[in-house]
Symmetry: C2
Subunit: 772 residues, 2 copies
């Protein structure tokens, strides 16, 4: 009964008189629940005082960063092991690996200390990590002992390394993506089988139709004479990589045969690939909704648990005292400003009754998740310093000019001219001088803006586009100066630095995006769906890593790249006579090899892009064995059919959410409350630099209603939602489901919640008591 | 006031006593409204008796088929005009074209006769057709007169021919797809501009990074030295068609440069292409919902109009007499069986009060849209003919065997063995004999099934899979017999017939799909979304046709294909020295030309598949001018970026609807009513051959309730919904919105409905009176 301790304390708490302050332990326990709810963790923990302290240490950023550091080191080891980009002796890498394993093991022990035993051992994540640690140790020992007697064996456990990345509780998103993938498999399997059946049917037809005709491909090799080769070629045609070459011999022979290929492409490329996308997408949506629903209910449960720890009875209902609430908030968010805290309390304790009721208490994580920016409306420093000059008519004219649309347009034209100058040959002195002119114009622009707008407001944390603009110009300044320095020194010894300088100079053209509103919207949307993209990046990285390790073991050294100046006859066949006359050698693909991790990743990237993947597959099949094609087909199935479709599903869903944010301007209940309190300021108004005007109007409008009381308490404090960025797909979906859960409704039991999806791990505890 | 006549009559009708039968004209008018509502037409018409008769003639299948025939002839003319697949003199094609134009004009006049003038002239469809007719005539005259003085000019009006296909009222779906496309354009434009900006930024970077290095491509041509060429190459890279070749020279030079290409591909290929898909999809959904909502409201309006024509007052409410309802149904669906009519009346007149109330009357189009199959449960003919033999224990054993699962499995194994035999060389006599064995086994299987199941039930109209199975075997039988005949005659003079025979023999393997349930589900889903695919096919056809005509005018004769046996030196460069050494000639792409309509369509298909499209573009640019690349880029933008994404949006939405049908088994209200009346039979039960058992149970279950009355009236009649096929995306969405419109609610005014989307054309009539 891991929860028995807490339950006992909850019942102990209930009869307490309202004036009793909760103990420090109770506060920490409640805060832990709130933190879990805020960050959607579902790690249950022991409730002994020591466990709570360990819990806080476990969640501390230092231990988390340390864990990620060791995961990175472990994964990076593949760069230093044979076949290595930067070779290190086996002893060094194995010591580093053992260090990492020790760290992982320590982290696991730490986790075990704060988790009830029963829960810990039921969690497949923990079992996975332990098994992987043991397997890696066994592999290290075997490889080490074989190495000592000079027998080279395979370091197979390296392919298991991403297990650590996936299975630590912090990588929830990647794990969820993998679960989506896994849950999609049964549904996609039948479609895949039907698809393979269709490919085989067409192969058989091709064999019968074209096999006996003695046709030749453009390279002169026999055309469609072997059923296995036909099946491979037709599979490649599904990926469109050998279209139209594969069709040409038959088409040249008889016009009607093109119909065979057209029907094949319509059925297998267009229809089946759409079915794959539809199945993956459908499953992804279904699964995502289920997970989010579960998270919403779990959060609700945790907040009720926190409420039960702190509640006291006032009148007929249980509430949380304002003092306790304050203490809790300070523990949960230690670096929150007191003004911010005051605002949250105002929102939570609407009637200013001195306590927070249950419904408002449950909203706490959402309140904490909203980045509220406290704005101190200040005068421009120049205005404070020399008001006469700043308010003079000349100065006001300048300010008016800068705020005008034409000012923006003029600089757009300047950027355009600059782009043309960059495209022209920079060797001419005129153009090189023009560089300095453009740069000074840009700097003048920034200075004028800083003169017009309040600098602290302009460079506020969430003014993304102002930062973007300024950073690009500073980078360009640095680049141009560096370029001039290097050129005057006439020493072009560092190619990389020069390249970076070049790129930075071109990047300044990105400023066009800032001034075209529709472009800014698109880019903001893209930035908003960044978390989704990052999750997807993690997923791809894991799959790439496993395939890269396997590929390096199988193919390394088979294909070699010779420096371009090296004129050995082997250079043209990549050091392997088997490639003589192959499309691989003809395409000069020698550098596409598996001789180190970086090269392997590049090859896998090319395979993901799909085009010419059959040339790579055939090349590596020639230098090893025909069965090597299976590696490439498997990669195609996993990455292109499954993962790219998951990516499209991810991206589409994210875009739709982002669009609906952009267009319908959903205002959540919390934002409304801030507005009701009269302390909210719209972001747009701020950007236009009309802040002071707005505040005046606000003041005026508020005098009418009973807001004076509130106003007094919050005098001088203006808040606004930092941006809409916090509303990611997850948050939005979660809010959607949360609005469906009534605050008094306890929701389904924990058991039911956990049965939403059998693959998620959480404590099963029939004694979980909801004593509201 | 085009509606004045009807409105006057409606008010005339109202005070009539209930026993008055409506006139024939009123019936026809009401039936016309119902037909419009049933098929979602929104063509308003004059209400004079003559106009109604013309309306029925206009909607008659003969005139519709005639219209489509002339459209086909008009479009097919491109096959016979220079550059022609089957050349005909200009006089012949021009006479045919004038005939077609006359037919179109006649159809338009016919439409004008039944449409109020004001409405007719506001409809852009009609204007479009007229303008196109005039332009075509002008073009014909100019071309004809220039031809007579031997000057060859351009028949530019040929590209306008698809206008007739799109703009006739019957092609609503294609028009809607075009409208979706059109409405998407403004949103996609900004994304496209940002995308082009990104491509140009990267081009500039590539020029600066790689331009001065003196690198060479694998073919030895200069690498990235001209900004326009770089932009084209990078645009091609977005389509992945030149990956990884375009990267290799830079990658060989320095490992780090691969990062440039990887970032480029991630941003431009993956992210931007996803944004395009998301924008198109988002717009498609938005627009579709709007259109469907409009249709639902219009349908509602029309049904109220029909109700108003026929209504009589009974007690306090207006209703339609049963006799009138019957007459109406007979006019609307003349070939409906009386049993079916009786069922619909039972559903509409629930209380058997002798009249149909408004709410039920409005449902009429839905009732008519449901294909109800009347099942006469009969004994097996053999049982009737010789009951003793059929019911003997041996016969029953056979029937039991055939119904058993193992029977299906045995034949699956046989098909598998057959597939292996087909793959083997058929020249061996053993295998050729085995063919006959397999064929006789299949025929025995069919005969056994017909022995076990009732043949009329087995070959019922909607037993798709039984038909599929039988047709394949009959085709295989024909094929094998034909093959044997041809082989014994030893005259292989018709290659096509032999090829068809070969394909038919292989197609019989498709029978595997029938016996694997999951495969059947997938194929059924695909068949269900057929209307969506066909619409899309129409869209693609129109775009292809226009591009093909333009391509034929620009590129015809520039590239020629020489027969393979012809050994002229020109054959290798496609008869054009400009192609010497080009990838186009090296790939033997000579047959990819625009020398006739069929070839042009094949080339466009290859361009749609994308791979190697840059080779084709470069080839045609070499034989004409660099600007020719614009044709190919435009085709890529229109077809791959817009239309293929529309297709994916179409397909995804259709799949989701089909999935939700498959999984959640939505039963509409109408189906429930059929079930309530106790005359419904589930499709699945029928397929298992357990029909009689089921009916017995049903009988038994019904004795308890008050269904006896109903049962008597419908004795011997069992109905079932033919299949779920009728529930297409449209139908489902429409039902969704219809359920939101209360029957008593008149919905928004016609004006409001029409303002849902400004692009749809319909009469604006403020006098439209809803006198309920």
């Amino acid at each position: 009964m891991p929860w028995a301790g807490r339950d006992a304390r909850v019942s102990r708490l209930r009869p307490q008189p309202p004036e009793d302050l909760p103990t420090r332990e109770d506060l920490l326990l409640a805060a832990a629940y709130v933190l879990d709810a805020q960050y959607n963790r579902n790690v249950p923990f022991e409730t002994s005082p020591q466990a709570i302290r360990l819990y806080y240490f476990y969640k501390h950023w230092t231990t988390q960063v340390a864990t990620y550091f060791f995961i990175c080191v472990d994964l990076a080891l593949a760069l230093f092991e044979e076949p290595a980009l930067f070779p290190l002796p086996f002893l060094a890498t194995s010591i580093a690996e053992i260090l990492c394993l020790t760290a992982f093991f320590g982290r696991l022990i730490h986790f075990a200390k704060i988790t009830p035993q029963m829960v810990f051992w039921k969690d497949t994540k923990n079992i996975c990590i332990m098994v992987t640690i043991v397997l890696t140790l066994i592999d290290l020992i075997i490889y080490g002992s074989l190495e000592s007697i000079n027998v080279r064996s395979v370091r197979w456990s390296r392919a298991l390394r991403p297990v650590f990345l996936i299975n630590f509780p912090e990588s929830r998103q990647i794990r969820r993506a993998f679960r989506s993938l896994w849950n999609t498999l049964p549904d996609i399997l039948y479609v895949f089988l039907l698809f393979m059946f269709s490919v085989l049917m067409f192969s058989l037809m091709a064999l019968k139709l074209f096999g006996d005709r003695g046709l030749k491909t453009a390279e002169g090799s026999p055309y469609f004479e072997n059923i296995l080769e036909i099946a491979f070629e037709l599979y490649v045609l599904v990926t469109t990589a050998n279209s139209p070459d594969i069709m040409m011999p038959a088409y040249d022979f008889n016009w009607w045969y093109s119909l065979y290929f057209i029907i094949y492409i319509i059925i297998n490329t267009y229809i089946f690939m759409s079915v794959f996308l539809a199945v993956v997408y459908n499953n992804y949506r279904k699964h995502l909704k289920n997970e989010i629903r579960k998270l919403a209910y779990l959060k609700h449960h945790k907040m009720i648990a926190a409420f039960n720890v702190l509640k006291v009875k006032v009148g007929t209902e249980f509430v949380v005292e304002e003092a306790h609430w304050r203490q809790l908030a300070q523990v949960v968010a230690p670096d929150m400003s007191s003004a911010h805290l005051e605002l949250l309390l105002r929102i939570s304790d609407e009637g200013q009754k001195g306590h927070v009721d249950k419904m408002n208490f449950l909203q706490l994580p959402d309140l904490l998740n909203i980045q509220v920016v406290t704005i101190n409306i200040k005068r421009h420093p120049l205005e404070a310093w020399m008001p006469r000059v700043y308010q003079s008519s000349a100065s006001l004219l300048v300010q008016k000019m800068v705020r005008h649309r034409i000012f923006v347009w003029i600089f757009d034209v300047i950027i355009l001219i600059n782009a043309i100058f960059i495209a022209l040959d920079e060797k001419k002195p005129l153009i090189s001088y023009a560089e300095w002119l453009f740069l000074s114009l840009y700097i003048i622009e920034i200075l004028l803006k800083l003169y017009t707008y309040e600098p602290r407001a302009y460079f506020e944390k969430n003014q993304f586009w102002n930062w973007f603009d300024t950073l690009i110009i500073i980078a360009a300044l640095v680049a141009t100066v560096a370029n001039a320095t290097i050129q005057s020194a006439r020493e072009y010894n560092s190619q990389q630095i020069l390249d970076i300088v070049l790129i930075l100079r071109i990047l300044r053209l990105l400023r066009v995006i800032v001034s075209i509103w529709r472009f800014r919207v698109i880019v903001t949307t893209l930035i908003n769906i960044r978390p989704v993209m990052l999750t997807f990046g993690g997923l791809v990285f894991v799959v790439y890593y496993v395939f890269a390790i396997v590929g390096m073991e199988v193919f390394h050294g088979k294909v070699r790249f010779f420096n371009l100046n090296f004129t050995a006859p082997d250079a043209l066949v990549c050091g392997n006579p088997a490639l003589q006359g192959s499309a691989f050698a003809r395409g000069r693909y020698c550098k596409n090899n598996f001789n180190d991790l970086a090269s392997a990743f590049t090859v896998l990237m090319e395979l993901t892009v799909v085009n010419q993947w059959h040339v790579l597959a055939n090349g590596f099949a020639l230098v090893t064995h025909q069965a090597a094609k299976l590696y490439f087909i498997l990669f195609h199935i996993v990455v292109v059919i499954l993962i790219v479709n998951i990516f499209i599903a991810f991206a589409l869903e994210a875009f739709f959410v982002a669009y609906s944010l952009e267009k319908s301007e959903v205002e959540t209940a919390i934002e409304k409350k801030i507005q009701e309190l009269g302390v909210g300021i719209q972001e747009e108004e701020l950007q236009d630099g009309k802040l002071t005007d707005h505040v005046d109007t606000k003041d005026h409008g508020l005098h009418g209603d009973d807001g004076d009381n509130k106003r007094k308490a919050l005098k001088g404090l203006y808040c606004r939602i930092a941006s809409k960025k916090y509303r990611t797909v997850d948050t939005l979906l979660q809010q959607m489901f949360e609005s469906e859960i009534a605050p008094e409704d306890e929701g389904p039991s924990l058991d039911e919640i956990l049965n939403f999806s059998p693959s998620d791990i959480c404590p099963k505890n029939p004694n979980f008591e909801n004593s509201a």
